[in-house]
Symmetry: C2
Subunit: 225 residues, 2 copies
DNA sequence: CCAAAAGTGTTCCGCCTACACCCATGC
DNA sequence: GCATGGGTGTAGGCGGAACACTTTTGG
């Protein structure tokens, strides 16, 4: 049986992943040196080609799993990038995704293995092809989202202090916010729960640890930072 | 010379266009009956396959031009849709775009020729494949945008009345707004200029016609509705 | 005892919302 | 003269922004 579309030509389609992590008070992404031609040794996002039997979202999840060993990562599509000459080797259309992970969950053996490096978003090198554009767009999308949806928690440990949460917010948005106002807003969100646990790693006095209660959020999903 | 990617398989990539128009006080889109198998005679967005020598954006522009005869249409990418079985004929990844046009600029001969119909967004039929999903996402994206960026004007004639602008806004957002408050906000945007011209087609008294001054907007791009 | 981070309330201003009546004209 | 859509201002309340000091404890 011949297909009805046979007169049209096909192209390679890849996914590229922008993996955000929050580390040392900075928003960073995982990048590596490209291991194939063309563009060998240029800084690059991690990506992969789409297989026949998987959806585009599945491909992104597969690539993320290869890279991080983690499943059920928070992930959103950034968009399709399809300039003709964006890949010097051959026509490739790439669909970019961004993912949010907690740096501590990340197996650093895998990092070694893939030769990857955490680099601050605000201090990226020139990267292969249009990868800088992809990152810029992903970052902007995430900035918009972080004030309206509870996505911050994907970048933090299950238990976190309010200072951590605030620093993260500041790092993503690129501006400082007032501590008291920030905490006032947090208090209004019942699904951000104070525990009795105290973290003493970052201060002598210690800070209460909080947790995000997803169930509670689903019942009353009003998030505003 | 062999290519370095040859071990990966290629897929068909198409673009699908969600063409928004504002007509009779409603937000509508252009859809037609599909003219090929599979899915013949199902309602469908208008689309086309990507050619070798054009970028994805160019493909979308080409398809839009075929369809409307218009160039320089306002157009934004909605995203890539890539479920394995989204097209029953063969694996096709589709990249959706939405476009905003002024219904009056649109050549209705072309509409006849392509067998297209303006259908209210809130009253869409079941469509082919995942096209309803695409429309829903496009609509949501546009709703978010219309309050922060001056995109409304793409859906209106060059000269428009404030009532038209308000009705458009209400149609896109799906809720009524207060006339005086709406006009107050308009007054604060100097780039929405009152002309001395009066439109008498929709009232006996007549209403002042306004125009969007793009130059003025670029100098002071503060848009808020 | 000192340094370093955690924690906590109040005031003020600006913006957004709610709201109702007169105007101009064609028929 | 009346029906139809066009056009206009104000008052009150709410939410966001600015702002500084006390607490705890390890060293």
């Amino acid at each position: 049986m011949t297909t009805y579309y046979e007169e049209y030509s096909k192209v390679l389609v890849s996914v590229d992943c922008i993996i955000f992590g929050f580390d040392e008070g900075e928003l960073k992404i995982l990048i590596g040196k490209r291991k194939m031609d063309p563009g060998r040794d240029q800084w690059s996002l991690y990506g992969g080609f789409i297989h026949d039997e998987e959806s585009v979202d599945d491909a992104a999840n597969r690539v993320l799993f290869q890279l991080t060993g983690l499943r059920n990562i928070y992930m959103r599509q950034v968009g399709a990038f399809g300039n003709v000459d964006r890949d010097p080797g051959e026509r490739v259309i790439s669909i970019a995704y961004y993912a949010l992970i907690n740096v501590k969950d990340y197996d650093s053996n895998l990092q070694e293995e893939h030769g990857l490096k955490w680099v601050p978003v605000n201090d990226l090198p020139q990267m292969y092809s249009d990868h800088n554009t992809m990152v810029a767009k992903a970052h902007k999308m995430m900035q918009r989202k972080i004030s309206h949806e509870p996505i911050s928690f994907n970048l933090l440990p299950k238990l976190f202090t309010l200072t951590q949460l605030q620093k993260l917010y500041e790092a993503v948005c690129g501006e400082k916010v007032d501590k008291r106002n920030f905490r006032k807003r947090i208090k209004e969100m019942d699904f951000i729960e104070k525990t009795e646990l105290i973290d003493k790693t970052s201060s002598k006095r210690g800070a209460y640890l909080y947790r995000f209660n997803k169930m509670a959020y689903n019942e009353d999903p009003n998030f505003k930072l």
